[in-house]
Symmetry: C2
């Protein structure tokens, strides 16, 4: 949208009252808004109502800018700014990740991003993964602690953003937050106990608009907080936001969206149908993807090339700093290169002859050195063990099996997929070529793969800048059919078949060519 | 309603989740409620959502009682009680009068009244009338003071009521409050400045459901507060509640409803149409009705009979106590008796000969003694001056002129009116015969007059005990046509003609017979 007619800030002219038009202030303003919003259900928040008569009379022309937000079928008026007020009405988009929280301020009138900040999820000290936090949340005190941590974290972020953008927090009227189902429950202090227990039941999937005041969010107290809805325990609001941003729900051709964060979540569909599944439901992937490597940050190895002749390692780190570890995409690059150069075999096992001096065996566990101690930033050797590789192989097998299962369920083939969106940090860094080489993702043309970046944040931003996009959220949610993998009889067979590199059926990966082929013994 | 199927407390059975029904807790509960409420728009308040998973699993049978409330088209679930919990879910009805605040606790499940209390409006020390309070409310601090006074007053009442009924405030889930437009604004701390300034504009006429927590009402914090809507500055929620209680909006025959409190408000109509006007809009009635006598309380004279022969006064006081003053109905009785016995003439002036020794003149102002000093509770003489009588005559003239104007506007006659409801304390004490005798109300059969009692409180109670009745509130409001008296060209002529007792046209009051007729000079 390049014009501003689709925004949440509506400029209107409110006629002054007269003896022949003695409607209440709220009614005259609602009528003015109605001509834009095309609904009779326009409501005013109480704090705004308190001052409405004076606010309307502050400007003799009766021209004001109203900040509105939609709550299912009704519109709420949450802020009124004078037409001549030079300060913008601002929105706050939040991607509430299990690991990272990313926040962005947006000018609600122009759609322009004003500032961005990110932080580790302040709940991490309680537990790095969701499971630990949900156990901690079993007590009222624990649940409250987790809630307060995230609220305080967001408030610190708001202060930082407002400084960056040189605005006051009182000008932030709307907030949209997207997170997975567990994070959403913990954000709202809702008992999450049964999300992780069979049959995996969230307390709620949709949430009414809340006020910043009731949530304790330090924006305009009268501001509205929109929480993205979930589909179920394993398909959350972050994914809905991602779909919204990708636009695949509006396309004629079939597309797939994969988000690999704590879990691997997959959506397949087009404008007519949407089918979703999530990897955490698959037994082999339980916590799997998250265990590979470390989070992408400066010094982390994100690319590795192994010379096919010399087996020399060429590494690249984020920010070109001395290496501190390997992130997920680096691990996939490494596995692909090890496989393509014959240093691991079809089952992912180290090939002793090919690995040479890099292979070390200690207490029966083999590892290869990626960066020697004297070249790393930590002073310790960076190595990858057979256990790490085995774990990666299981994860890639699970991923491929998920993609195969959902595709088969719908009755299409990988060739029917026009676009393969890869969301999240993982999607930003992953090299499709490497992921294809190990058989993690289908052997599609590289152009089919499109990184989406932080699609959760982008989707939340979109909800704040387009009323039309916002309106799509519920319909996306309602249209999704969720496929349970752990009751799918074929999943385990597909998973086993995918535990080879690239697959037990190499014909599925015609583009993958090893420099030294054949199965070598370990 | 004798059955409980129309209540705000809905007993439902929520099936436990399973792998084949892994809908969220809120969704399964909403589906159960949907079969009763027949809507998809069922929302859960945040505090309830927080504990919903545990609340639903507390009872293995899945049977619970949900307290719901409607917010325009959607239902909000505000409380859940176990089926076996013996404590009732309770509602609080409030009549927010300018002078008195009356509160009632109601068992939401049976409709039974549990306790009642009343107090002077805690804003009275700021100003006995609305005008003084609105001026005081011009400053933010003043407005906040008035708001806090009424909130604190209600909270004290809640504590009293809960003691009386032996319930905890946490079991009070719903509150319905009905007041005039100004009192509603002051209750909600909304700038009331323009209610009293031409063209008399309220800030708002309809109010969204609010939570007890945001208002600071000391019931269940998650409880919902419903504020009756206004029609305009001079026709408020108390009248809407009164109409609801009277049921005149559902009848085929035409009825009139008159509420004489601070203002005189009148509604005429039936199931097809409703027309309203208010006396404060008439210049002669400005504050008029409220000035007559004192508020009804123990010791106040509510009935007077004057012996036509001896001119002896027979008085009755509320509670049969020594007299302390005269209330509105006592004043009307007195005026009627003075007129019928010839002690005042057709213009309401004292007739010296007929009054005899009771008539005293001091500083050019005449008065008659009603109770000598030695018989009153105050030790002072209770007297009525010519000024008081003149004021009453103006008020009764205004009242009659209002009734005549609204009737003529609609094109019906008094004889078309099947029922004449008289609301408020005034309505409970007034003797129609006396009011007819002075020409305050039309000369209809006495059986046509029906006192409604505290119809504002009764209407608020009805809103809490019947969903069907609640649904009528908005339609009553929307159907009312408001007639502005101060722009009505005929009103002043009618008012002047009605300043005689009973009227310049005595044919209108065939039933009024004086014991000593004729115009006597003063």
């Amino acid at each position: 949208m390049t014009d501003n007619s689709d925004r949440w800030v509506i400029p209107v002219s409110v006629p002054p009252p007269s003896l022949s038009d003695n409607r209440a202030d709220a009614d005259r303003l609602a009528t003015a808004l109605k001509s834009v919003l095309h609904t009779d259900d326009i409501r005013f928040s109480w704090p705004l109502l308190k001052i409405l008569p004076r606010r309307l009379r502050a400007n003799p022309s009766g021209e004001v800018r109203c900040v509105v937000m939609k709550d299912r079928q009704c519109f709420r008026v949450v802020g009124i700014k004078d037409l001549s007020d030079p300060t913008p009405a601002v929105g706050l988009a939040v991607d509430l990740g299990t690991t990272r929280v990313v926040m962005r301020l947006i000018n609600l009138e122009t759609g322009e991003a004003l500032a961005e900040t990110a932080m580790d999820n302040p709940q991490i000290p309680i537990g790095p993964d969701i499971l630990a936090r949900i156990h901690y949340a079993a007590s009222d005190a624990g649940r409250h602690d987790l809630h307060v941590r995230i609220i305080n974290g967001i408030n610190a972020g708001v202060a930082d953003l407002c400084r960056q953008a040189a605005i006051t927090a009182d000008d932030v009227f709307l907030m949209a937050i997207a997170g997975n189902t567990s994070m959403t429950h913990l954000f709202l202090e809702i008992v999450p106990d049964w999300i992780i227990r069979e049959p995996y039941i969230p307390a709620a999937n949709r949430f009414s608009l809340m006020t910043a005041a009731e949530l304790g969010i330090a924006i305009n107290p009268n501001g509205c907080v929109f929480v993205f809805p979930n589909v179920g325990s394993y398909f959350g609001g972050d994914l809905i936001a991602g779909i919204l941003y990708s636009g695949l729900h509006r396309r004629e051709e079939i597309a797939m969206l994969v988000d690999v964060g704590t879990n691997a979540e997959v959506l397949l569909g087009n404008r007519d149908w949407l089918v979703a599944c999530a990897g955490a439901a698959g037994p082999a992937l339980e916590g799997g993807m998250s265990r590979i490597g470390t989070t992408a940050r400066p010094g982390v190895i994100d690319e590795i090339r192994i010379d096919p002749q010399t087996h020399e390692f060429h590494i690249h780190t984020i920010g070109d700093q001395r290496p501190v570890g390997i992130c997920g995409s680096g691990m996939i690059d490494l596995a692909a290169q090890l496989f393509l150069t014959g240093m691991i075999d079809l089952r992912g096992k180290f090939v002793k002859d090919a690995c040479g001096g890099r292979l070390i065996e200690e207490d029966g566990i083999r590892r290869i050195t990626v960066v020697p101690a004297d070249q790393s930033a930590t002073g310790s050797e960076l190595a990858i063990s057979q256990t790490d590789i085995d774990s990666l192989v299981r994860s890639k097998a699970a991923m491929y099996a998920i993609l195969e299962t959902i595709t088969a369920y719908v009755g299409v083939t990988f060739d029917d997929i026009a676009t393969f969106f890869v969301a999240g940090t993982f999607g930003s860094f992953i090299k499709p070529r490497s992921a294809i080489s190990i058989g993690m993702i289908p052997d599609l043309p590289e152009t089919a793969y499109q990184p989406l970046g932080n699609s959760s944040l982008e989707g939340a931003s979109l909800a704040l800048t387009s009323r039309a996009a916002f309106d799509e959220i519920d319909s996306i949610r309602d249209r999704i059919t969720y496929l349970e993998l752990n009751v799918n009889p074929e999943f385990m067979g597909r998973f086993s078949a995918a535990k080879f590199l690239p697959h037990t059926d190499p014909a599925r990966f015609p583009s993958v060519k090893r420099s030294s082929g054949g199965v070598a013994s370990s």
